[in-house]
Symmetry: C2
Subunit: 311 residues, 2 copies
C-alpha cells in the first residue's frame, strides 16, 4: 500500500485546496497538516484560526466573503463582551464561538489538540484527516520594526502594517510534530505545500524540531503551489513580507523560500515566463491554473497535483 | 451608622424586588445575596443563573418575556454547539454566553466568584452590591421519586416534573458564606427574604454552615415576602413543591417554612384573610400588593418593605 499525500497548509489558500483534495482523494489518502502558530487565547477560549478555516471549509460552513468564520454568523456574544473587556479587536462570531468553547472544554479535559480536532471534524461530518502541526503550544512571533508582536496582534489588530524583519516561534523547545504529522513524514508518498503564506503559515510548520530536515531528506516527491501569482498574493500579506524580507516579489521569489525542500514548483499560467527561473533554483516548474475561484477550480488543481505526484 | 438591608434572593422574583430595592436604597444600604446552588457548568463554562438574572435585571438587559437571559438574544452558538454535543437542553443565548465566558475566564485566573460578580456588575453599570451566597461550590440536588437529580437536570431538562421528596446540597462541608454575606450577617439592620422559591432559591442559602443559626439569632428585623399569592406561585414550581413536601399550598404554608427565621410575613392583598394564621405561627402579618407587574410595583413594594424595617 502506498502512503498518503501529506499536505501542509495555513488558512484560506490551504483550505481551498484542501476542499479540492478531499474531492479527489479518499480519507486514507490524505493527511492535511495545518499551522497552529497563529492559535491564540481570547477570553480564555482556545482559538485555532487556521484549523477552523480548513474545518469550516470542508464542512461547507465557511463564510465565502471573509474566508474565515462561519457563514451567516452573528456577533452578539462579542458585542456583549464589549461590556466586559474594552474593545475586543478579534472578531469571533456566535456560531464560531461554539467551536472555541467546545475545543477549550475538551482540551481542559486533557485531550490533545489532535484528538479535539478529530472530534470536532467528525462532528461536522469531515472524514478526511485534518491534523494540527503540533499538539504543543507554538506561537508565531512577528518581529517588526516596532518590536516583537504576537501573531494575531500583528495580523488582525495591526492589519499587517508594521514592517516584518523576522519571525520567531515561541515554544519550539518543547514542541514536537503531532503524532499523525510525524507518522505521515515517514509514510507519505508525497508532500504538498499548499498556496499558503510561506512565512506566516508554512514557516511555523517547518520550524518544528526535525521537520525541515525530514522534508529536506524526504524520499518522495515534494510539490508546492506558488502563493504568489502575477507578482501578487491572492490574499494576505505574503507579497508585502517577501519584499520586507528581501525576496523578489514574484512566484520566483516565493520559490526561493522553499529551496532545498521542494522538487516541483507549480506556477500559475500567468507566470509561465518564470519557468526557467524555477529550473535555475533546482526545482522542476509546472504550469497550470492555480487561482481557485470556484469549487471546480479547487478540484481541478487538486487533480492536477495528484497527477503530478502520481497519486 | 446603621447597617444595610441584607436581602436573600434566588432568580426572577428576587430580581424584580432587587430592582425596586436599588431604586429605594443607596448602594451602601443594600447587600443582595443571591443563591448559587443552581450554578452549573455547561460546555466548560460556569453558568450562575440566579446571579445572571439579578444582574441582567438591574442592568436593564433582562428578557422581560422569559425572566432569564438577555433581551433580544440569539441562539446561534447553541445551535452550532448542537453539532458538537447531542441536543443541548440548557438554553444559553449568544449575549448571555459572553457573561459565562468572561466569568469562566476570570475564575480561571483565580478570582473568587464574589470578585468576578463584582467585576461583571461594574462592567454593566450596577452600583449596588450583588453577592453570591458563597465563593465555594455548592450544588443543589433535588431528591425525587425518580432519584437524585442535579438542579438544572430537574429544573430545566425535566421541567420540574418529578415529585420532590427532599433537597440536598453538595459541597456544604467545604463551603462558607461569601465574605460580604458573612459581614452583612453581622452588620445588617434587617434581613429580607425576597419572594423566591423557599426550597430551590432560599434553602441553599440557609443550608450554608452557620447561616440558619445566625438568622435565627439575628437581633434586627427579619421580613419575608410570601412567594405564594392566592394559593399559587407567580412562577416556577414553589406551589408544587410545597404540596409534594406536605406543606399547605398557600401563603400560610410557605410561612411555615420560615418559622423561627422571620418576624414579619408580608401577604399579598389577595391573602388578607390569612393574617390571623400568620400570627398563630409567631410572625407579624403585613399586607400589601406584592405582585410586581410593573417597575412601579417593584419600587412600591421595596419602599413598603424598607418602611416596615425602618430603613
Amino acid at each position: 500500500m502506498r502512503g498518503p499525500l501529506l499536505a501542509l497548509a495555513g488558512g484560506v489558500g490551504g483550505a481551498k485546496l484542501a476542499l479540492g483534495l478531499c474531492h479527489v482523494l479518499l480519507p486514507e489518502e490524505l493527511v492535511m497538516v495545518v499551522n497552529t502558530g497563529d492559535d491564540e487565547e481570547f477570553y480564555g477560549l482556545h482559538v485555532s484560526p487556521d484549523l477552523d478555516t480548513v474545518m469550516y471549509t470542508l464542512a461547507g460552513l465557511a463564510n465565502p466573503e471573509t474566508g474565515w468564520g462561519v457563514r451567516d454568523d452573528t456577533f452578539n456574544a462579542l458585542e456583549m463582551m464589549g461590556h466586559y473587556e474594552p474593545s475586543p479587536w478579534f472578531k469571533l462570531g456566535d456560531r464560531d464561538m461554539a467551536t472555541h468553547i467546545r475545543r477549550t472544554q475538551l482540551l481542559g479535559r486533557g485531550k490533545t489538540l489532535s484528538q479535539v480536532t478529530h472530534l470536532l471534524c467528525s462532528s461536522l461530518g469531515i472524514k478526511h484527516n485534518v491534523v494540527p502541526m503540533s499538539d504543543h503550544r507554538v506561537r508565531t512571533i512577528v518581529e517588526t520594526d516596532e518590536g516583537k508582536l504576537p501573531f494575531q496582534e500583528y495580523f488582525v489588530r495591526r492589519r499587517c502594517e508594521p514592517r516584518v524583519v523576522g519571525l520567531g516561534f515561541d515554544g519550539l523547545d518543547k514542541a514536537r510534530p503531532s503524532p499523525e504529522f510525524d507518522a505521515a513524514l515517514g509514510q507519505a508518498t508525497a508532500i504538498l505545500f499548499c498556496p499558503s503564506n510561506p512565512f506566516l503559515s508554512i514557516a511555523p510548520i517547518l520550524a518544528l524540531p526535525g521537520v525541515r530536515e525530514r522534508i529536506a531528506g524526504f524520499p518522495g516527491t515534494r510539490v508546492a503551489v506558488s502563493p504568489i501569482v502575477g507578482g501578487q498574493a491572492l490574499r494576505g500579506p505574503a507579497a508585502k513580507i517577501l519584499e520586507e524580507l528581501g525576496y523578489q516579489v514574484s512566484a520566483l521569489g516565493a520559490a526561493g523560500v522553499y529551496r532545498g525542500l521542494c522538487d516541483i514548483w507549480v506556477l500559475d499560467e500567468a507566470d509561465r515566463s518564470l519557468a526557467e527561473g524555477v529550473s535555475a533554483l533546482g526545482m522542476r516548474p509546472a504550469v497550470t491554473r492555480t487561482v481557485m475561484a470556484t469549487d471546480e477550480d479547487k478540484v481541478a488543481l487538486a487533480r492536477y497535483l495528484c497527477d503530478l505526484v502520481s497519486l
